[in-house]
């Protein structure tokens, strides 16, 4: 850095702004000592810069007033003193005496004080939280419950295996029967009626202006992805209604899309240690996996938005951590123990339905 008579002012300013290095500062000081006629100018520039007070922390607490320090009751502080008395803040006996003198000195003051006595919100004890049992958690399951649960799960698995075999043997036939399908919107199909992948694809919306056009574009890829999920391939696509009671499964349902993806593997989930050591997907994990997989495909969510995360605490409790704009609703249908999570993404609604299976 070369300091000259042309640039010394800007260097003075840089010095006070802390922009100079140690070496440059030393150089500046040497320049000043060589040119003492500039010292006065240097000092004047210094005053242009306000220096923060670091050592001293200002304390304004002395400005705080305690209502008990008042030494008189007048029309300006009367109401405040009434409130203080009723809130239990008044502990100066002299002041309290003066306040009660003031209260009794006129009907208007007495009325004011009585009014303040009344302005308290009283809770309506009739209002209670419904279904507290849903908030509660189970303690360690007793052996009997474990047995029943095991039987229920075994029965569910057996039913699903049976259904799977049945589907496999009937898929071809069904696919042929719907080779020229009519629009299946508004069409009620019996539960568990097997439909082929082709039909699922054909049932996707054809109107390109609909907000679901991404689904159409991605149909093959997304279905392929779903088929090759981490676990066993999806065996069937079935209609939503009606749900089969007391059977464990999780489904994703796209309204107007007419298909449901069933993942049977989450049946063997861990439930508060009952299945400790068994590596299986939980309901929440499965949903999170699906949401993550669909984020950039079916759902087409912009990258800057993060998805809600399904939080699972036990088999019957499921919720979503809401982030950004992804809105959710978690509702419980106690009939058949069915639960439903609805993820409303603004342009598409995604439903997860699942039953507890016991």
């Amino acid at each position: 850095m070369k300091i000259t008579f042309e640039n010394y002012i800007s260097i003075f300013i840089d010095y006070f702004e802390g922009k100079l290095s140690n070496e440059e500062s030393i150089e500046l000081m040497q320049f000043l000592s060589s040119h003492p006629e500039l010292q006065n100018e240097f000092d004047q520039i210094q005053f242009l810069f306000l220096q923060p007070i670091e050592a001293e922390k200002l304390d304004f607490t002395y400005l705080l007033k305690d209502i008990n320090q008042l030494n008189e009751v007048n029309q300006h502080n009367f109401e405040e003193l009434c409130i203080a008395e009723l809130e239990g803040d008044l502990n100066n006996p002299v002041l309290r005496g003066m306040l009660y003198q003031g209260i009794n000195s006129s009907k208007a003051n007495l009325k004011t004080f009585e009014l303040y006595k009344q302005v308290k919100a009283i809770p309506d004890k009739k209002i209670i939280f419904p279904n507290k049992k849903f908030l509660k958690r189970r303690e360690k399951a007793i052996t009997q419950t474990w047995i029943y649960r095991s039987i229920a799960i075994a029965a569910s698995i057996t039913i699903l295996i049976g259904m799977s075999i049945w589907f496999n043997t009937n898929t071809k036939k069904t696919a042929i029967s719907i080779s020229n399908p009519t629009p299946i919107e508004n069409q009620r199909v019996l539960a568990n009626q097997t439909i082929s992948k082709e039909r699922v694809i054909q049932s996707l919306p054809s109107d390109p202006d609909r907000p679901y056009k991404t689904i159409k574009k991605m149909q093959n890829e997304s279905l392929s992805q779903i088929d090759t999920a981490n676990h066993s391939p999806v065996k069937s696509f079935t209609q939503l209604e009606p749900l089969i009671p007391r059977q464990s499964y999780v489904m994703a349902y796209f309204p107007n899309r007419e298909f449901i993806i069933v993942d049977e593997n989450i049946l063997k989930r861990s439930w508060e240690g009952d299945f400790k050591g068994v590596e299986t997907l939980t309901v929440g994990q499965w949903m999170n996996d699906q949401l993550k997989r669909w984020k950039n495909t079916i759902l087409n969510i912009p990258a800057e938005y993060s998805l809600s995360k399904v939080v699972e605490t036990n088999f019957a409790q499921l919720s979503l951590q809401s982030k950004n704009h992804v809105i959710f609703r978690h509702s419980a249908d106690t009939l058949y123990g069915r639960k439903q999570v609805e993820v409303n993404l603004g342009w598409v609604e995604l439903y997860f339905s699942y039953s507890t299976g016991y």
């Binding site: 405040e80 809130e87 803040d89 302005v119 308290k120 919100a121 209002i127 509660k136």
Partner: protein, 161 residues
């Protein structure tokens, strides 16, 4: 906190939290959601929250969940407008408490919350400050202002009658 203590906290405080939230937002479904979220969050931290502090934890969590929800919704709709249209009524008031309930609805949200925590739950200024994140002095000011507003509301109504 044990599971038994957690369940006890449901028995003891779920109604109070529900009442407090419902009084603030006047929407039963959202109030239920907030209570459920609150207990969900508690369950996730069940090992680190002691039973002695669970009440304060629950009210703090519920309060902030509610504030977050209100802020989110304010982006979508003018809450005050909805509030005024949806919940105002012209029926005759049967008693003072009903008038006070009406007056409480007209309080600014922060004042309403501190008044409800004070009256419903009997919290001290310090406890309310911890729950709401306000300073103790702010809490006191809000309570005093709220009381004055409620009293004046009663006076004005008497004048009208």
């Amino acid at each position: 906190m044990t599971v038994a203590e957690y369940n006890l906290s449901v028995e003891q405080f779920a109604d109070n939290i529900y009442r407090f939230i419902l009084k603030n937002i006047k929407d039963t479904e959202k109030a239920k959601d907030i209570v459920q979220d609150t207990y969900e969050k508690l369950w996730m931290r069940v090992d680190s929250v002691s039973y002695e502090k669970v009440r304060a934890y629950l009210f703090t969590t519920a309060y902030h969940t509610m504030i977050d929800m209100i802020r989110r919704e304010k982006k979508q709709v003018d809450f005050e407008q909805v509030n005024a249209n949806k919940f105002s009524h012209t029926d005759h008031y049967s008693d003072v408490q009903e008038i006070i309930n009406q007056a409480i609805e007209k309080l600014p949200p922060a004042q309403k919350s501190v008044i409800l925590l004070r009256d419903y739950e009997g919290y001290s200024y310090d406890e309310i400050a911890q729950i709401t994140g306000l300073s103790e002095a702010q809490v006191k000011v809000y309570i005093y202002r709220g009381r004055m507003f409620l009293k004046n509301y009663l006076v004005n109504l008497e004048t009208l009658i």
